[in-house]
């Protein structure tokens, strides 16, 4: 098949869940299909400043077509619009303006879909919240497959999404919770869909502790891995952990590993490492007593799968339905909804090493069963075949 993949940013140097998923899919789909990635020239998702040159290029065997961003994001205007639309009852035109302001504004990409969209058998769109997906998908709806990467954040409540989620010819979801969320928001049976997620390669074992010793890290620690950001719940985790210790809770060290956008409290039991190279990252994942994921919004936690890939149990934010669902399906850890539950959960994992190890092993078995690349890509290919067959039948 001739496939186009539309994503707001693309590149081997770009971090971000949906961008990573798009790249992994593109490189794997390119083995069997004629794949073109349609994307912007932006690298930074805050400003959308043009960085990459416009036009055709190639990345790891994938043909990439980049379009210039017409204007940078106006942060004040976007923040004000967010306040207005998330309060509810904003008119549809204001909600659509929110998608425009969210950007990236790539008129060339939309023109390409308008004029050349029918050249592709299927067009896959990543992340409904970005302008290329929101405004691009309706232009080729009959051949579109949406990977919404929807989370239970305020944006999902926008009323224009009811119609939007009914348009795709097919959908790929990261989790069952996301599938349910989008189906409920569409208030109708949506197109054929599959829950696929992302693949994880088996971990290379054993991983030496040496990089951790060089950093002077203690033997007993729990881990937060990822961007140290408010949106990821990192500040709430630090406060909850300090509260746990202040109340005389069981002692351990909490290590934050990832680039920080917020300051963390200075505490002898908290270590903030900032960005860490791969060898340190691997060693942290291999030797942590548990991974903690405090994020309130997720469509799929990749870091959770990575921890299970190493047989490490998890303690996750139970207010996030996706994290709660992942932990319960995998039987790979515990969840918390309050500081008291956090304290109980952490205490259990640290004082029941055999049970904690069993939870970690169950997590690994779940990853082996559901999240290896051959399994994931077979589900993706099956859905694409299904959508293409239905379209061919409809077109006669």
């Amino acid at each position: 098949m001739k496939l186009a993949l539309v994503v707001h940013r693309y590149g081997t140097d770009i971090a971000g869940g949906s961008e990573l998923e798009a790249r992994e899919y593109a490189e794997r789909l390119a083995a069997n299909h004629d794949v073109t990635v349609l994307t912007s020239c932006a690298r930074d998702y805050v400003t959308w400043a043009n960085v990459y040159p416009a036009g055709a290029s190639s990345s790891n065997g994938v043909h990439v077509q980049r379009f210039r961003v017409a204007r940078r994001r106006r942060l004040k205007r976007f923040a004000d619009l967010s306040d207005e639309v998330f309060a509810g009852s904003a008119p549809d035109s204001t909600e659509e303006a929110w998608f425009r302001e969210n950007g990236p504004d790539v008129p060339g990409l939309l023109d390409h879909l308008r004029t050349r969209g029918s050249d592709y058998d299927l067009v896959l769109f990543w992340a409904y919240r970005y302008a290329p997906s929101y405004f691009g998908l309706p232009l080729v709806a009959e051949r579109s497959v949406l990977i919404p990467t929807a989370e239970e954040d305020p944006a999902i409540e926008l009323s224009v999404l009811r119609e939007y989620f009914r348009k795709p010819a097919g959908l790929l979801f990261n989790t069952f919770e996301e599938q349910r969320l989008v189906t409920v928001r569409a208030d109708a049976v949506v197109g054929p869909s599959a829950v696929t997620g992302i693949g994880i390669d088996p971990a290379v074992a054993p991983t030496p502790r040496q990089p951790l010793d060089e950093l002077g890290l203690p033997a007993d620690f729990v881990l937060y891995l990822g961007r140290v950001d408010r949106n990821k719940g990192a500040d709430a985790l630090a406060a909850t952990f300090c509260g746990h210790l202040d109340q005389g809770g069981i002692e351990t060290t909490l290590i934050f590993a990832g680039p920080a956008t917020i300051p963390l409290p200075v505490h002898p039991r908290i270590r903030a490492l900032g960005f860490v190279p791969n060898d340190v990252r691997d060693a942290l994942l291999a030797h942590a007593r548990a991974l903690i994921v405090p994020s309130p919004y997720e469509s799929l936690s990749i870091v959770l799968l990575e921890a299970w890939n190493r047989g490490i149990p998890a303690l996750v934010n139970g207010r996030c339905a996706v994290l709660r669902g992942q932990v319960l399906r995998a039987n790979g850890g515990l969840f918390y909804r309050s500081p008291l539950e956090f304290s109980e959960g952490l205490t259990y994992l640290l004082t029941h090493p055999e049970e904690a190890a069993t939870l970690g092993r169950q997590g690994l078995a779940y990853v082996d069963r559901e999240y290896r690349w051959p399994v994931v890509m077979e589900r993706v290919e099956q859905l694409l075949r299904d959508v293409a067959t239905r379209r061919a039948r409809r077109d006669g």
Binding site: D83, E84, A87, A194, L328, G333, R337, E355
Partner: protein, 165 residues
């Protein structure tokens, strides 16, 4: 409410049973947490009705459901309160001037270019707190709504029972 379509999903298949099921562990853990919570609440003078673990579990459940349903579009009270501009917290700050077009735009420009960067920390601090307050208001609206629904259902049940006597 439409349900997800029956298409390929990992949930369509039987999952092997776990040696250590997480849901059972969570029930044990949450029971311990509620016991600790009940003792704390009672120690600080909360109603003795909470001595009954079943009552606390029920109250906890109702408030939990309310907190999870607290999206603006799912609430009835805003409809009853009327025009949102008269009661809703406005977290966005707009640059405005009541003066004429020329001096007005000059003042708005000064506010935007000079005053706001200086006061940004104060603006962000206030906005943060306004957003938290707006969130708490929504949760309280939702709790009231949930209790009103429970109350209406109980009244209907009582009417039905009294008729059958």
């Amino acid at each position: 409410m439409p349900q997800p379509p029956a298409t390929a999903s990992i949930f369509d298949r039987d999952q092997p049973s776990a040696v250590l099921p997480a849901d059972e562990l969570m029930v044990q853990l949450q029971t311990r947490v509620r016991d600790r919570l009940r003792a704390e609440l009672r120690r600080h003078g909360a109603s003795e009705a909470l001595d009954d673990p079943a009552i606390l579990a029920d109250v906890h459940r109702i408030l939990q459901i309310a907190a999870e349903r607290a999206t603006p579009q799912a609430l009835l009270l805003p409809e009853i309160l009327g025009e949102p501009s008269e009661w809703r917290l406005d977290t966005a700050m707009r640059y405005q001037s009541h003066r004429g077009p020329f001096s007005g735009s000059l003042i708005v420009g000064l506010k935007r270019r000079l005053l706001m960067p200086v006061l940004r920390w104060l603006f962000e601090y206030s906005r943060d707190n306004f957003e938290r307050q707006a969130r708490v208001n929504q949760v309280l609206f939702s709790c009231v709504q949930e209790l009103a629904i429970e109350n209406a259902q109980l009244r209907a049940e009582m009417r039905r029972l009294s008729k059958s006597l």
